[in-house]
């Protein structure tokens, strides 16, 4: 009874909030529902197979890929697609749905509570790195909380990135772990051993081990092999320890998305969907919540990309390295971004030297100083749309060239939602 009332409240507040034009109406309703029934998430999860996706980077994309994979054989799948990744968002997503399968993106800090409320069948752990410095979510502490929570959930399949020592620590006490060699470009937050505070050493071949205590990369069930790994320059391939191989043909760009797809495939298998079927289903996903969308701004066309922290920027700067397109970099420091953009100095902007770069966003001045010391010539333009137009006009020989745009969270959404 209480759950029915709470569900009705959630739906009513969501509908009202949407009508009033106050956002996408997922958080307010969820909050109201949880006030009526604090165990609403638990009740809404009952009778469903729930999969959770958490980590610092790639949550939204992996959640989308896993949702598509679990629906590959025709089952209805519900997911918190708007990116509201705390319990109000979970409740709002589940409340209107009869789907028997659910895939929920979960904030790293909230994972223990959401795991216990949903009794999830599967948990995907992507990576852990520094994010939003002013919030003091020290990544080691988060890994420790994951470890305790997963140890207390013996019936949950854990699908974890074996290349991230912090993730391995977080998953390491769970009863059933599917280790996946998904890779880890950004290793700067992982050199301190989470087990003994000794030192983790990364080998050239992708292995790692603590020099002081024997904590080391576990043997993997599946791994991603790409041309960069020296495997004959072929297409990126998922390789299982049992001998299976499956080529990845994703519409989404970047090695990090291939890694996300492999983790989703192993999770799909743990949920009863064949991994090859899952990977084929994921191939058709072209954009996730606006990431990699091409949008027109007047005569200019821009490919919009989102990076929220140094690890994410490292991946995207690598992705755009081969492209001659003019680049707009947009930085905000609003609540959702974290108020301290000092992390700009952890991002290897030096790689942009020689390109056409326009700095924009609320904090374009911080970015401009960073680019000056990176010796990257650039112009500044406070208006993000103005910056895209300026970048598009930078090369008179290619007036309709595509502009690459990388923004952090609210900067990305400003451009995604800007009038054309």
């Amino acid at each position: 009874m209480r759950t029915r009332l709470a569900s009705a409240t959630t739906r009513a507040v969501n509908a009202a909030s949407r009508r009033l034009g106050r956002g996408r109406g997922t958080v307010a309703g969820g909050r109201a529902g949880l006030r009526v029934d604090p165990r609403l998430l638990e009740h809404l999860s009952a009778g469903r197979q729930v999969a959770l996706v958490s980590g610092t980077n790639g949550k939204t994309t992996t959640t989308r890929l896993l949702t598509v994979a679990l629906g590959a054989t025709g089952d209805a799948v519900v997911s918190n697609e708007t990116g509201s990744n705390m319990p109000p968002g979970h409740v709002a997503a589940l409340v209107g749905s009869a789907a028997t399968r659910a895939v929920l993106e979960v904030d790293e800090v909230w994972l223990p509570r959401v795991l216990s409320a949903t009794g999830a069948a599967a948990v995907v752990l992507l990576n852990l790195s520094r994010d939003q410095l002013d919030r003091t979510n020290e990544v080691r502490m988060v890994a420790g909380r994951w470890r305790a929570a997963l140890a207390a959930a013996p019936r949950t399949h854990v699908i974890a990135n074996a290349d991230d020592p912090l993730v391995v620590w977080g998953a390491g006490a769970a009863a059933d772990v599917h280790w996946v060699g998904a890779g880890l470009r950004w290793q700067h937050d992982a050199v301190g051993c989470p087990s003994c505070e000794g030192r983790i050493e990364f080998g050239a071949g992708g292995g790692w081990a603590c020099r002081d205590c024997g904590f080391a990369r576990p043997a993997v069930e599946a791994e991603l092999v790409t041309a960069a790994d020296g495997d004959g320059g072929g297409a990126p391939t998922a390789v299982w320890a049992d001998g299976r191989r499956h080529e990845l043909r994703l519409a989404l760009p970047g090695r990090f998305n291939q890694a996300n797809a492999l983790l989703a495939a192993v999770a799909a298998e743990a949920c009863g969907i064949d991994a090859a079927v899952a990977l084929d289903a994921m191939a058709s996903v072209q954009e996730v919540a606006g990431r990699f969308t091409v949008r027109a701004f007047g005569a200019a066309r821009a490919r919009l990309m989102l990076a929220k922290n140094p690890a994410g920027w490292d991946e995207l700067l690598d992705l755009v390295a081969g492209s001659p397109a003019p680049l707009v970099v947009s930085i905000n420091a609003r609540v959702a971004d974290g108020a301290d953009p000092s992390w700009l100095w952890d991002v290897p902007f030096e790689r942009l030297a020689g390109r056409t770069v326009v700095a924009t966003g609320d904090r374009y001045r911080d970015l401009s100083v960073r680019l000056q010391y990176a010796e990257v010539a650039h112009s500044t333009e406070p208006s993000p749309v103005g910056a895209v137009t300026q970048a598009a006009g930078a090369d008179p020989d290619a007036p309709d060239a595509l502009v690459d745009v990388i923004g952090n969270y609210t900067a990305f959404h400003d451009l995604l939602g800007a009038p054309t």
């Binding site: 410095l133 000092s342 992390w343 100095w345 010391y373």
Partner: protein
């Protein structure tokens, strides 16, 4: 050029332990500002499992509690930093790094740890909420600042994020006096002792305060008249940040 030592060596100490808050940028800024003036500068990223290198300027940054304890232990055991400072090397230590080069600092549960002792300061865990936000601090115009060339440095701007309260001992002077934010916890911000500067300001501090960078460079190079650089980007950032703090302050007063 010979394979010999660069004219100026800047070492970022322990990016693997004290690299959480972007403060490694301070080392880059010092090296670039020297190079842009024609000084041959070398920037070293000195990780904690190798001996501390010989350098003219050492930069230490913010970090988490566990690694901070390890950094202090390693620096004390290694001994190079203390020896180099006695020989005239310059140190810029930020946040956790500031606490580490003091006499004592708190660990994760508040327990005391021995610091390197380059600054006569003691830090304990504060009882209030963590200090997180923009800081503005006026450089203290006292004889000590006058003597070392700091007196002309305009208001410092930066972002603090710490739970420590730092008390200055008799052997050390305050770097600045806060006009917005928390700093050391008693109205002062940072510390100055010989050529060792401690501060809670991230940003990084030298990105937002190029005049402070040039004071450190002039100490290390023994040249008090460095030619000016084009700091218009930094000046624009400074004005915007100082203005943002000023606006927020007025808003607070209005609300009260």
């Amino acid at each position: 050029m010979s394979a010999g030592r660069a004219a100026l060596r800047v070492a970022v100490l322990f990016p693997d332990l004290l690299g959480t808050y972007g403060d490694g940028g301070n080392g880059l800024i010092l090296a670039r500002r020297a190079e842009w003036r024609g000084v041959d500068a070398e920037l070293l990223q000195a990780v904690s499992d190798a001996p501390v290198p010989e350098a003219d300027i050492y930069c230490l940054g913010g970090g988490e509690d566990g690694p901070q304890v390890r950094a202090a232990r390693t620096l004390i055991d290694d001994g190079t930093l203390v020896r180099r400072v006695a020989g005239g090397a310059v140190v810029l230590a930020v946040c956790a790094g500031f606490q580490v080069v003091g006499r004592s600092f708190p660990g994760a549960t508040g327990e005391g740890h021995e610091g390197v002792g380059l600054l006569d300061v003691e830090t304990v865990k504060g009882s209030g909420p963590r200090a997180v936000g923009e800081v503005v601090a006026e450089v203290v115009a006292e004889p000590v600042a006058e003597a070392v060339g700091l007196a002309g440095v305009p208001a410092l701007t930066g972002f603090e994020n710490h739970g420590g309260v730092t008390a200055l001992g008799e052997g050390t002077a305050a770097l600045a006096r806060v006009t917005a934010g928390v700093g050391n916890g008693d109205g002062t911000e940072g510390a100055l002792q010989g050529r060792v500067v401690g501060t809670y300001l991230h940003g990084p501090v030298l990105a937002r305060n190029p005049a402070l960078a040039d004071v450190l460079l002039s100490w290390a190079l023994g040249d008090a008249s460095l030619e000016p650089l084009d700091d218009s980007a930094a000046e624009s950032l400074r004005q915007e940040r100082l203005g943002a703090v000023h606006r927020r302050g007025r808003l607070h007063r209005l609300r009260r």
